[in-house]
């Protein structure tokens, strides 16, 4: 597929340059008929042309697979479309139906918001605590780091989601562990009150990448700052609040932003744990799962597009707001 652009680059970029080489050799370059042309062509122009040749695949992808589809999806969101007949313009009907006539949609919004509001802060706290615990020069550090990261590799897989469904099942590991302490509990996955908890624990289990980003940040805090604070009589907690946290705010900002965007889009866990239904009683009906059901199970593609645009609007608004708040609480180093 990309052989064509690659070959094009070869011909377009290498040839003028090799001409340039020969030019330096003096008389031999007289053979080259295109020499004067390449000299006239400014190196700036040549650089720009080369750049756009390098960018051909990406620009094509941008237009054909991202921007074009986005616009088409915006158009579809004002239509009724089932893939078989032509889209039929319905104005704002999809959007009004969402908020006035579709209780399952509102349920999916509620489930997703609860999920994001609980899982993201917990994820940050757990990651930070473990990063602090690991922030020492100690034996086996790389080994520990690797093991903590392991779930991040597997967390998005069907295998782990399937395991979770069994671990939180009626006779799963969790209930067997609770039984040791004399606690009786029914199936977590099968109970509407507990099913979401199952998926939140799955999200928390995948804290490794967030933790590693925090750990990298902690390691860059100059020791002198902590020493100075200690000399001033600050205890460990005081030092954490007044030295560590302010210096970590750029990473906290980053992890919160990415974690939130990620959480809004989470799909596989809910799909596999609930068997694709979002059940029991729609308690794990994540926004993206409902979007999938609407668009691809019921072929209601106009409605699904409208849902996607609402999600985009919410995420954009959240990101903009969050970036705006950054000026009040995110401290960058002196160099910025």
């Amino acid at each position: 597929m990309s052989d064509a652009p690659a070959a094009k680059e070869l011909t377009e970029t290498v040839r003028p340059e090799s001409l340039g080489t020969i030019t330096d050799d003096g008389p031999r370059s007289a053979r080259q008929t295109r020499r004067p042309k390449s000299r006239i062509m400014k190196s700036k122009t040549r650089e720009a042309i080369a750049a756009y040749v390098f960018l051909i695949p990406w620009i094509l992808g941008m237009i054909l697979l991202t921007l074009g589809p986005m616009l088409y999806s915006l158009y579809l969101s004002f239509t009724q479309y089932d893939l078989l007949s032509d889209p039929r313009w319905v104005g704002l009907q999809n959007y009004t139906r969402m908020f006035t006539a579709d209780p399952r949609y509102l349920k999916s919004v509620a489930v997703t918001l609860v999920y994001v509001a609980i899982s993201v802060p917990l994820l940050l706290i757990v990651s930070m605590l473990l990063a602090l615990l690991l922030n020492r020069n100690m034996k086996f550090l790389t080994g520990y780091r690797a093991l903590f990261y392991l779930p991040s590799l597997m967390g998005a897989s069907v295998a782990i989601a399937a395991l979770w469904r069994l671990v939180f099942g009626a006779q799963g590991l969790v209930n067997q562990a609770l039984a040791i302490f004399g606690i009786e509990h029914g199936s977590w996955v099968g109970n509407p009150d507990d099913a979401l908890t199952t998926i939140i624990t799955l999200t928390l289990w995948v804290f490794g990448s967030t933790m590693i980003i925090f750990l990298a940040g902690l390691r860059q805090i100059p020791k002198e700052l902590h020493e100075a604070a200690t000399m001033d009589g600050a205890g460990a907690i005081r030092r954490f609040i007044s030295v560590t946290i302010p210096l970590m705010t750029p990473l906290i900002f980053f992890n919160t932003l990415m974690g939130t965007i990620h959480a809004f889009q989470s799909f596989t866990g809910a799909y596999v744990v609930s068997g694709g239904t979002g059940g029991p009683a729609d308690s794990t009906l994540f926004y993206t799962l409902y979007l999938y059901q609407r668009g691809f199970a019921q072929l209601d593609m106009g409605y699904a597009s409208a849902m996607a645009w609402v999600l985009l609007a919410v995420l954009a608004a959240f990101s903009a707001f969050f970036f705006w708040t950054a000026r009040f609480w995110v401290h960058y180093g002196d160099e910025r």
């Binding site: 720009a48 080369a50 960018l55 620009i59 992808g61 690991l134 597997m154 069907v158 007044s242």
Partner: protein
């Protein structure tokens, strides 16, 4: 920093570290805490691995890892369970993954080179666009892309899963490589240019070899993402002979009754094995990538 009077606190905190702490003891406590946490965290996976080697009727016999006998029959029966055909799924997953990795490496590296090293009109705008797509929820393009690939009659082929990678849709990896290439000394390009190298040769002979860590990270993360990808195959692959491993597992899970989880566990373990294997080989590289760019 100090808000108190200069005399008294100074006297109080000259030897602040004199607190009674035994370094060996704190180290032991720290290691114990970490190991406890690790065991609890990884126990479900360890248990699953152990369960995959247990006889069928002993799997749900408690929390323990060991059964009366060690058996491979779960692997044998899972590999060819009913209508499912895992050797096929593994082949398919492997094919999709390799083609996706190749696409990502080519498309992302050339795009990153242009952004990191070359000057061209609208560069700022295009780079902003690139960063913008990193935050774009994929659901917005999911429906129209499906319609597009449906029109192209690409449903039930691997093209919808592979081709986008050849067009650099993974902005994250482009960004990662841009950041990395920017750290390489520019003098190298300059001297190569003086020696008469064109942009393509500077890219292929100088930047590419030096950017191997970023390329390795990209390859690794693309491997993990593609291998685990569930939604893409779920949308585009309906015919069972085309399925990838996640689809096979999902169907297996739905078809499995409450008492026959051994083969499912066995196949789950096999599906995770390549990822874990790759990770063991490349963990240092991978973790550096996470720490410096914030990849998930």
């Amino acid at each position: 920093m100090t808000t108190t009077t200069p005399t008294r606190p100074a006297a109080r905190t000259i030897y602040p570290t004199k607190k009674v702490t035994n370094p060996v003891l704190t180290a032991v406590i720290r290691h114990a805490l970490i190991i406890c946490f690790l065991v609890i965290m990884l126990y479900p996976v360890i248990w699953m691995v152990a369960a995959s080697f247990k006889p069928e009727n002993e799997i749900f016999n408690g929390l323990g890892l060991f059964a009366s006998r060690f058996t491979l029959e779960n692997y044998a029966s899972g590999w060819s369970a009913g209508s499912l055909n895992f050797s096929r799924y593994f082949m398919n997953s492997f094919l999709v993954t390799v083609l996706s990795i190749a696409g990502n490496l080519v498309a992302c590296s050339i795009t990153a080179y242009a952004f990191a090293r070359l000057e061209f009109p609208f560069k700022k705008f295009l780079f902003a666009l690139l960063l913008g797509t990193m935050l774009l929820p994929s659901q917005v393009t999911m429906v129209p892309q499906y319609i597009l690939f449906n029109q192209l009659e690409w449903i039930n082929t691997y093209l919808p899963l592979v081709v986008p990678h050849w067009f650099g849709v993974d902005a994250f990896f482009i960004f990662l490589m841009v950041q990395f290439i920017r750290t390489l000394p520019r003098e190298l390009d300059e001297s190569a240019r003086i020696d008469g190298c064109g942009h393509f040769r500077i890219f292929s002979r100088i930047i590419l070899p030096l950017a191997m860590p970023a390329i390795g990270t990209t390859a690794m993360f693309t491997f993990i993402n593609t291998w685990n990808d569930f939604l893409g195959p779920l949308l585009y692959l309906n015919r069972t002979e085309l399925w990838t491993v996640p689809l096979g597992l999902s169907a297996f899970l739905d078809a499995t009754s409450e008492s026959a989880f051994g083969p499912l566990f066995a196949m789950s373990v096999l599906s995770l094995a390549p990822i874990v294997g790759f990770f063991i080989v490349s963990q240092r590289l991978l973790l550096e990538g996470v720490a410096t760019t914030g990849l998930k």
